[in-house]
């Protein structure tokens, strides 16, 4: 070592940064930043990190965009009201490309790289089914907003919960009586050919038979399909009601071609709004939908009897009376589903506060706290309405709506009760160890 050691005479960049950081911390602690004092009483002021598994690309992109907007609005409100346990909430977004394999990788990234507290926000059932086992292995609480029956069926694990959106089984059980009584008893089903569609197929077939009806044809369509006319000749002539539920980027084409296929003499149509999420119901070519019926988790178009909480929620997520973006009315939301993100974040908040959540070590306590929830009353935290959470099956039950297209507007015609959609438990996750 012949080189003489350099003596630092000036302040170098690293020192400058440390100094800057320290003074920022001091200012924040002293309340010099507006808003910072709200979080000052927490034992740790580090943010609660929530990993948002977002369908930013792939077939779920339209949902991803609006699940994102709703999540942002909900987090903004939670932070304005003091965060969780006095700590601010931070959302970490990762795109899962609506792909099950990628979904599992995203969860891994959340747990090991971003070190999030919980993961949340997945819709598409195949992504949930692909990701949930990894969540169990990583011991990462995974709050899904998916509708699939996979949570309550017992095929997943104790770390996966669905606390704010009703599953397909409950939805169809509660609606089958309306279909059989008002629309017809001979039903042809058109559904996407993956887990979510199969839930519809299996549970609706059962439910309509219980009402004295029957499913006369089951038409499964691959979720990436782009043209549909070729599937429609399989609809039997005796069909009284077409039950349709489609997802993916081609839903508008699907509904248009359905209209073109039937022309003026169509059977009754009962659809899940999934077939039209993110699509304007007044798009050219959709006139034939007038007088048809749709399931909605939460009514897209503002209704006469909307509560204050529902109005506040609509404004917070930036939607107008027709469920489209206030800034761009051509940008129609996925209103019937996305409330699930808003409400799930509020359940995470309530659960963390009940469990006095401090960090990843308290994850089991958080799950136990959520499992202990039962009646969830309607409020600004839960604008969709009253809910009943089943801690054993990790599944929530709520009111469902059937809307009729009247002058191009979805008007709620019938609302089910929570009890209409109840079924026997198929699993008890609380008996599983953490």
């Amino acid at each position: 070592m012949t080189q003489p050691t350099k003596k630092p005479t000036k302040m170098n960049r690293r020192k400058a940064l440390i100094g800057l950081g320290a003074s920022t911390g001091a200012l924040a602690a002293g309340g010099a930043f507006p808003g910072a004092e709200r979080f000052a009483h927490a034992q740790s002021a580090a943010p609660i990190k929530i990993g948002f598994q977002k369908h930013a690309t792939g077939i779920g992109a339209a949902y991803g965009r609006w699940y994102g907007a709703t999540t942002d609005a909900a987090v903004k409100r939670i932070n304005e009201n003091g965060g969780i346990n006095g700590r601010p909430v931070e959302i970490v977004v990762e795109d899962d490309a609506t792909d099950p394999g990628r979904g599992a990788e995203v969860l891994e990234k959340f747990a090991t790289q971003h070190e999030v507290d919980v993961a949340f926000g997945t819709l598409f059932s195949h992504v949930v089914i692909g990701s949930a086992p990894r969540a169990g292995e990583l011991k990462l609480p995974y709050f899904v907003v998916s509708e699939g029956h996979h949570v309550a069926s017992g095929m997943l694990n104790r770390y996966t919960l669905q606390p704010c959106i009703t599953d397909v089984k409950s939805q169809v059980i509660s609606m089958a009586p309306f279909v059989a009584e008002n629309l017809g008893k001979k039903v042809t089903m058109i559904y996407p050919d993956f887990a979510f569609g199969h839930d519809h197929r299996d549970f609706f077939s059962e439910a309509i038979e219980a009402q004295g009806g029957e499913v006369v044809a089951k038409i499964a369509i691959p979720p990436t399909e782009t043209t549909f006319t070729r599937y429609f000749p399989n609809i039997p002539r005796e069909t009284e009601v077409i039950y349709h539920v489609m997802v993916g980027p081609a839903v508008l084409t699907f509904v248009k071609e359905l209209g073109e296929f039937f022309g003026p003499n169509r059977p009754e149509l009962f659809g899940f709004i999934d077939s039209l999420e993110a699509v304007d119901i007044q798009s050219p070519g959709l006139e034939f939908l007038e007088g048809s019926y749709f399931w909605e988790g939460m009514p897209r178009h503002a209704q006469a009897g909307d509560t204050e909480a529902q109005k506040a929620y609509r404004a917070a997520v930036g939607c107008n009376e027709r469920g489209a973006s206030v800034e761009d009315p051509a940008n129609v939301s996925t209103y019937a589903h996305m409330f699930g993100c808003w409400e799930t974040l509020n359940v995470i908040k309530a659960g963390m506060e009940a469990a006095d959540y401090q960090g990843p070590a308290d994850r089991p306590k958080l799950i136990e706290a959520v499992e202990a929830m039962s009646a969830i009353p309607a409020s600004e935290d839960h604008p969709q309405g009253d809910k009943l959470f089943n801690g054993k099956t990790h599944q929530v039950f709520a009111q469902q709506h059937i809307s009729k297209v009247t002058d191009g507007t979805l008007v709620v015609e019938h609302s089910t009760s929570i009890e209409d959609g109840m079924y026997e438990d198929e699993v008890d996750y609380t008996t599983q160890t953490f």
């Binding site: 043209t227 070729r230 000749p233 073109e260 022309g263 050219p284």
Partner: protein, 308 residues
């Protein structure tokens, strides 16, 4: 649905598929025939055509026909220019080497796809057809009262789908005239037969390559503009047309234009009919199987010339 009307509906659906397919596959075949380049990015030029159709029609506004006609002119020309640029700046730099052009066009595929995702977004967006009337079709049958005309449930086509079939046929005729009756066509055919000799006779082979690559991509874009009022513009829509176009070109014979037309009709019609009567998955399986059989028993394709 009865067998007769069902078959008629299936054939009409098949004809629409064939019409789009023939334009896309023609572009691919032309590029291979003249330049000996396997263009893996061909499907992305198709997608780009659809996306530009959406951009043009929403920018112009007004009656759907204005936007559609605008798109019909602007999208293929713009896509052709982009493709000519790719030829100049990418393919020419790798000297049209067979292996390296495949790798290069795979790169171009990802660049176009991801740029579209960034600029246009992941949504599927519709373009309004200029006209779209539902035409119910009659069916004839011998009933109790003798020969009668009936209007079966669901047997229909839209005026726009009919237009697609005729438009594709018109473009094909124009392309055939261009290749066989004009000086440009003569130069292209000369380059195809022997590019060295053509160059010796003063044909600017470099320029011809750029034009042909642009024309091939423009044909794909034109097919996409025609299809986008039926389907929707989406950044991942280039995959299926690429696969089908390759199947068509392999069955028809690489570089053989009549072979491409016959194969496109064959694949399009069988896809339409098999998917209506059985399942769309089976249609794809059969098409792929057909490719394997052609490669085994007639590697040069139906009308391709065996290499000497």
């Amino acid at each position: 649905m009865d067998f007769g009307p069902h078959l008629m509906l299936a054939s009409l659906e098949g004809a629409v598929i064939s019409a789009i397919l023939v334009l896309t596959a023609m572009g691919l075949s032309l590029v291979f025939g003249v330049m000996r380049v396997v263009n893996v990015a061909h499907g992305e030029f198709f997608m780009l055509g659809a996306v530009l159709a959406w951009v043009v029609s929403t920018t112009l506004g007004g009656h759907p026909a204005i936007g559609f006609i605008g798109a019909l002119i602007v999208a293929p020309v713009l896509v052709g220019c982009i493709a000519a640029g790719v030829d100049r700046f990418v393919l020419k730099r790798v000297n049209y080497d067979a292996d390296r052009t495949i790798v290069a066009t795979i790169g171009v595929l990802y660049i176009i796809q991801q740029s579209t995702l960034m600029l246009y977004g992941p949504e599927a967006r519709p373009v309004q057809p200029p006209f779209n009337t539902r035409l119910s079709l009659p069916w004839f049958e011998f009933g109790e009262n003798g020969f009668a005309m009936i209007w079966p449930w669901g047997l229909s086509i839209t005026s726009y789908k009919l237009f697609v079939i005729f438009a594709a046929a018109a473009v094909l005729v124009a392309l055939w005239l261009l290749l066989t009756r004009t000086r440009i066509g003569l130069i292209m055919r000369a380059t195809q037969q022997d590019s060295d000799t053509a160059q010796a006779f003063g044909v600017p082979v470099g320029k011809v390559y750029s034009w042909v690559f642009g024309l091939g991509a423009g044909l794909a874009a034109l097919g996409a503009v025609l299809v986008v009022p039926i389907q929707q513009a989406h950044y991942l829509m280039g995959g299926d047309p690429l696969l089908l176009a390759f199947i068509v070109v392999i069955i028809g014979g690489l570089g053989s234009l009549p072979g491409t037309v016959i194969a496109a009709l064959l694949i399009g019609m069988s896809d339409g009919i098999i998917s209506v009567f059985f399942s769309p998955t089976l249609a794809k399986i059969i098409a792929t199987f057909l490719v394997a059989m052609v490669l085994v028993f007639r590697p040069q394709g139906l009308l391709g010339r065996a290499e000497t």
